[in-house]
């Protein structure tokens, strides 16, 4: 038997979960919604004690991510909750504490704040303060985040930075359908509570071939999407598409960018970013959330500390502005491709 297969089987025995498939998997064209739906189906099939719940998930959810699940798995496993985010997350923590897989949906990340206390004070600290007697590792909170073109103040926010400040939980953000499926399954099986942000702008826009079988992508591992030598560009989620465009245009201007998708924000893959910055000597971080206190600040400070002597230019951040997410002014607020390109050129010219 080939050694790879033997290793895979060993992996399965150790971790009890399917690792990345080595056989040529059947692929299917899916958008982000279908990929997430697929992942949830696999999760519900694999573990009879897994549950999907949230506002309006039963009929399929406002973005259709949970279509068909209630019909297939029953209303006692895929069910609606009343309009109470704090209740939803608290309830999920309790369910997970009894050893179940609780996949809670918060309808928009903008609505997650009533649940902030539960996430920060209960979920993140449960294992720690009970001396490992209890944990809510089976909890995964999924929520759509980010700009959508016309969302305004309360349907466009990127609150990931608030959660990155909390030891005890993980924050994961995919950039597309195949990453979303793998990362969501990884988050669900991860024995720690995870907040999973889904870029709502890409729900229908991002379409690609996604493996149909069960697979996970490792958490806390950044992915280098294109290699380069002049500048390291780091981002996550929907912003990756913008950064990709900016890097292509940069390449035409003679700048070779190394583009990295962070994927897991906490705990984040310092090694990959460091290795890249040591090679290129320049770093640019970009995210939709407002610049002050955004997660880009953590990356910038950390890299400045660890790679100071390798840096040829100050760490650059191209982010949302320090205002509430505006309605008509959204195009001004967003870290657009042109803003990123300007920053890339400025960094290289430094």
């Amino acid at each position: 038997m080939p050694i790879v297969n033997r290793l895979c089987r060993l992996g399965r025995q150790i971790y009890g979960r399917r690792t990345f498939s080595t056989q040529t998997a059947a692929m299917k064209r899916m958008n982000l919604v279908s990929a997430i739906n697929n992942a949830l189906q696999i999760a519900l099939e694999s573990n009879p004690r897994s549950y999907v719940f949230g506002e309006d998930v039963s009929f399929g959810g406002v973005f259709r991510c949970t279509t068909g699940l209630a019909d297939k798995f029953g209303k006692h496993r895929v069910f609606n909750t009343p309009l109470c985010e704090q209740g939803i997350v608290g309830f999920g923590i309790g369910l997970a504490a009894m050893g179940n897989i609780a996949i809670a949906e918060i309808q928009f990340a903008d609505y997650i704040y009533p649940a902030f206390d539960q996430i920060v004070n209960e979920a993140a600290k449960f294992r720690y303060r009970s001396g490992n007697q209890f944990n809510c590792g089976g909890l995964t909170i999924r929520t759509p985040y980010g700009a959508v073109g016309h969302g305004g103040h309360y349907h466009s926010q990127s609150p990931e930075a608030f959660f990155c400040h909390v030891p005890g939980i993980k924050v994961v953000i995919p950039r597309g359908p195949s990453q979303a499926k793998g990362l969501l399954l990884a988050s669900i099986w991860d024995p720690n509570p995870v907040v999973f942000f889904e870029p709502k702008w890409l729900y229908r826009q991002a379409v690609e071939n996604v493996p149909e079988d069960d697979y996970i992508l490792p958490l806390s591992q950044a992915e280098v999407i294109c290699t380069g030598t002049d500048l390291t560009v780091v981002g996550w989620g929907a912003q990756m598409a913008i950064l990709h465009q900016a890097c292509s245009e940069g390449r035409q201007a003679g700048i070779s960018c190394e583009l990295i998708d962070l994927q897991t924000l906490i705990p984040w893959d310092k090694e990959t970013i460091e290795a890249s910055v040591k090679k290129t000597g320049r770093l640019l971080v970009s995210h939709e959330a407002p610049i002050t206190g955004g997660f880009g600040a953590e990356i910038a400070a950390s890299i400045a500390e660890r790679c100071f002597l390798h840096l040829e230019a100050p760490v650059s951040r191209v982010c949302g502005l320090d205002t509430p997410f505006p309605l008509v002014f959204e195009p001004y607020y967003m870290p657009t491709k042109n803003k990123v390109l300007e920053a890339i050129k400025a960094s290289v010219r430094f």
């Binding site: 009343p82 309009l83 309605l327 008509v328 002014f329």
Partner: protein, 398 residues
């Protein structure tokens, strides 16, 4: 045995005569002055109030011809405005979110009839008509919806964020339930300043399950604040029917130790009676909870067809049996305050008003780019924001 021809003919004639009598002006009554008549008369409220730990108000309410005509015109204006907003949204002049209030007009009209501008109203995002009721104008509404600078919130808020401070309208909130503790704070301020005024906190059947409502209710009851909780129960929280979201969908009872009243929210006069009663209670004894049994014809928002979780028969049934404007129309005709053609003329007037307002709003320009940074903090605070290179594009947050 078939009725005789003469009986049959008499029956038709009587019915035709009756409708003719109602339709045409009597030679003995001068209709034009009667529409301005403020002489009070009483009207029975059809659907009985239901009280929770309180004796309901009487089932009769005082009104006048003038008031009924005002109700009719104002509600028609609100209805037209919402229909126009629907069309503007479909032609992409309004973007973002748009939650329409048509069907529920009786709630805000009845409230305004019983309140003054000293009273405060605070609501969630379905606020176009509430804003109009609080003295907003149609051009301000349409400008705001289209994100233009002549809008009530300078074009920065959009559909969900209408405000009018001078008339006691505190908005216009996106997060459901979040406006309730705010409203209790407003009531506290009113009591502290010894204003003979109350705060009316509007929320929906979906938000009725939010914890913060009950936290704030406890505070209001403990301190006897003039806060009136008004649940606009249109029976669907987005797409979820009330019985699937709440163990106790009798929202007027949810105050437990706070008395409550259930009101037919499609009857503007019942709403007026209940709101007046509630205000008196709030000013003398403390908080009270009202449940307005109402209905929205549109879906939750413009992205929701509104027919996947309820039948079209249900919607048309409510429109036929309980429409608030039709109710007032029938009452006006029955009391012979105006004719069918008078009322049709009013509707035409209102339609023109709305069309003119839309045209005016379309001419307004979007807000200046510097407004992106204004009102984040107090003006003159001086905090800086930077463009991507930290050198060229900087602006001061004001």
């Amino acid at each position: 045995m078939a009725p005789s021809i003469s009986t049959f003919r008499r029956a038709i004639c009587t019915r035709v005569n009756a409708s003719r009598f109602l339709a045409s002006p009597s030679p003995f009554r001068n209709f034009s002055s009667s529409t301005e008549d403020s002489t009070p008369f009483t009207v029975d409220i059809a659907v009985p109030f239901k009280g929770h730990k309180i004796e309901p108000p009487p089932q009769v309410v005082e009104t006048s011809a003038k008031e009924l005509m005002t109700f009719f015109k104002d509600m028609s204006r609100m209805r037209r405005m919402e229909i126009a907003s629907d069309q503007l949204y479909k032609s992409k002049l309004i973007r973002g979110f748009c939650h329409l209030y048509d069907g529920q007009e009786a709630v805000c009209i009845g409230m305004e009839a019983a309140l003054t501008r000293e009273d405060n109203i605070i609501t969630a995002y379905r606020d176009h008509c509430t804003y109009l009721g609080r003295g907003g104008t149609l051009p301000e509404v349409f400008s705001e919806l289209m994100g233009r600078k002549d809008g009530c919130t300078l074009g920065k808020g959009g559909s969900m964020h209408f405000y009018k401070k001078e008339n006691g309208f505190y908005g216009g909130h996106g997060i459901v339930g979040a406006q309730i503790p705010l409203g209790v704070g407003l009531a506290f301020a009113q009591k502290y300043e010894k204003m003979k005024a109350a705060t009316f906190l509007l929320y929906g059947d979906g938000a009725a399950n939010q914890g913060q409502l009950f936290e704030a209710l406890n505070m209001a009851a403990l301190w006897d604040l003039p806060a009136v909780y008004v649940c606009e129960n249109n029976h669907y929280g987005m797409g979820t029917a009330e019985w699937r979201a709440a163990k106790c969908p009798e929202y007027y009872k949810r105050g437990d130790y706070v008395p409550g009243l259930k009101v037919d929210g499609m009857d503007a006069l019942a709403v007026k009676q209940a709101v007046r009663f509630a205000k008196e209670h709030a000013l003398s004894k403390g908080p009270i909870m009202l449940e307005m049994d109402t209905y929205r014809y549109h879906g939750h928002s413009m992205s929701d067809p509104g027919s996947t979780y309820r039948t079209r028969d249900e919607i048309s049934g409510v429109r036929q049996e309980r429409d608030p404007i039709e109710r007032i129309r029938k009452l006006i005709l029955f009391k012979e305050i105006a004719t069918v053609s008078d009322l049709k003329n009013i509707e035409k007037e209102v339609k023109k008003e709305v069309e003119d307002a839309v045209a005016k709003a379309k001419e307004s320009s979007p807000p200046d780019a510097s407004e992106l940074f204004s009102n984040v903090y107090v003006k003159g605070y001086g905090s800086q924001v930077f463009g991507c290179d930290r050198k060229h594009s900087t602006a001061t947050l004001s």
